[in-house]
């Protein structure tokens, strides 16, 4: 049997049932499942239901809170949210709500978050924010995977930088990028296929540039654009970690490796209410103009289309909503195992 195809709603229901039966309140379980399946829909499989296994393992090991208690300290448009070691998607969703509320009330808002966990893709939150006519920047730090420029071992995370902006007739601008040259997932795939990777992607564990995918996985991923990506990743660590009171650098724990302590991930949300600058319809018309002018630019030979950040992922979502989500056998096997443990039937989610 090769990999099979699942429908998004079914898969989401399956994952939510798992989390819920393992002790997560139903509403939160739904959020976590939606965040995972949302990533699969967008083609960001590395952040999809493949994470169910580690989330469930940490939950069962008592490494995460589920009691819903997340202290909020609000001071006008500035909020500090203590995720109190809840699931990242639950903490992120709370932060999203606070930042949207702040933006509507004050015009703009920042929400710093400490005590969180891996919170999936930033795009999951951005897509909700743009519905509210808000420009949203979301940052998160992560456990160590990249060396500083000139260093030889991981110190900073591939800390994502993201921003979402609504448009009018066009789909929203959704930039959600790791600050590494490439996603570590691509190196994993190359290693599995026995292929080499291009120079410039990664260092081996001795700090030498390597094109050997397996050696790269034992080493570190390089920041995008050299010192520039290093600087961007640092600033994200500073806002998400140093400023909020969360971990930073080595104090953000790896969820696969550290079973003694919470991750203490930090996030940072900056929300701006568009209507404080100009009428929303006017802004959206300007966005459409901007995006359409870029898309109309002359193209290099062999280039079919000039793309806007988020455009491919939007198309992938439409396609996978219709044609389903294909899961690798290894992921399928993990889900089946969890399903039998909690009496949830993955087959119900088959397309």
């Amino acid at each position: 049997m090769n990999s099979r195809t699942y429908n998004a709603a079914g898969l989401q229901h399956f994952c939510a049932s798992l989390f819920s039966r393992a002790g997560v309140p139903a509403g939160d379980a739904k959020i976590i499942a939606e965040s995972l399946v949302g990533a699969d829909l967008r083609g960001v499989d590395s952040h999809g239901v493949v994470r169910t296994d580690i989330y469930m393992r940490r939950l069962e090991a008592g490494m995460m809170n589920t009691d819903g208690h997340m202290p909020v300290r609000q001071d006008g448009p500035v909020t500090l949210l203590d995720g109190n070691n809840h699931f990242g998607a639950v903490v992120g969703t709370k932060a999203l709500g606070l930042s949207l509320q702040g933006a509507k009330q004050f015009g703009n808002a920042v929400v710093g978050v400490k005590g969180s966990n891996h919170f999936g893709t930033c795009a999951y939150y951005l897509l909700q924010a743009v519905q509210q006519n808000v420009v949203m920047m979301i940052l998160s730090n992560a456990s160590q995977t990249m060396p500083p420029t000139g260093g030889i071992r991981p110190f900073i995370g591939t800390n994502p930088f993201s921003i979402g902006v609504p448009a009018g007739n066009r789909i929203p601008f959704v930039l959600d990028m790791a600050t590494s040259v490439v996603a570590r997932g691509k190196i994993i795939v190359a290693a599995q296929k026995g292929e080499s990777i291009p120079e410039g992607w990664a260092l081996d564990r001795h700090g030498n540039m390597t094109t050997d995918a397996k050696a790269a996985l034992e080493g570190s991923v390089l920041p995008v654009g050299g010192a520039k990506g290093y600087g961007i990743s640092m600033f994200i660590d500073i806002l998400c970690g140093v400023l909020t009171g969360a971990g930073f650098g080595k104090y953000v724990n790896n969820m696969y490796e550290n079973w003694q302590e919470p991750q203490n991930v930090g996030h940072f949300f900056i929300a701006i209410d568009i209507s404080r600058f100009m009428p929303v319809e006017q802004f959206k018309a300007r966005m459409d103009t901007y995006l359409e002018e870029i898309k109309s630019e002359p193209k290099a030979p062999g280039v079919e289309e000039i793309l806007i950040p988020g455009e491919l992922e939007h198309r992938c979502t439409l396609e996978r909503l219709e044609k389903g989500i294909r899961l690798p056998e290894s992921v399928e096997r993990e889900l089946v195992d969890w399903g039998s443990r909690y009496q949830v039937d993955l087959a119900q989610a088959l397309l």
Copy 2:
């Protein structure tokens, strides 16, 4: 006679006198000069007094306002500033003041700016912000120099991304980067020396990758990290241009080429008061820990030191304050010419 060396204070006085005698109010003239010489001090010569000539030419041609009228629309922590076509450094300084004031009053503030001009380096403003215990992000759009990913001609600017964060015993974190692979200035230098440039820096005017520096200057500079730099540059254009009402894409005019219309550059300032998150001293201690831990990381062979963004520029400033600023002959000649036109003696500024 080869290039000669000038002292920073003298050079600043010289430039301020020029601007002032050409009609800029004395206080504003001082700001513009300080911004230029500040860039030279930091080793960012491309944004230093080399820009005096174009600033003076646009001023004389009546392309810039100097009357001090810059409408401000304030709504809680959100401000829209209309630079009303004043010098960029004057507009930027006004925006800096508004954003610092907003951060102190509300905890955080955003200031969108339209109707501005080339405003020098972001670092000029960041260095003032960090003195106020504020985390400051400053963005600006710029006239077209980079193609979108897949495109062949300039559409977006090398829109700078910048952030400044104070530390305790260590120098502040000051990241101020163009969103291109390299500064266009480096390509200009290569062209002058008849050297080739590395693959990946630029396209020729037909949209082909080129290693010929002269061909690159007629073509376009590439965004840092491919599609990632393209996305970052776009988001900056969106915040600075689309949202504020300033120009964006082709509507930001090139100051060297367009003598009919104002530049209509846009900026965006985001200021966060550190004390709303934790006591400033605690934050600074955490920053010092973070920076010291990065600097203590093991280094790759041949690497002498792991650097923090802004560290080299800080050292350069100390050195040039002491040993002076060496100007290329071509720049010296321009300044002498302007000096004789307005009876200001450049020789007074010699070290």
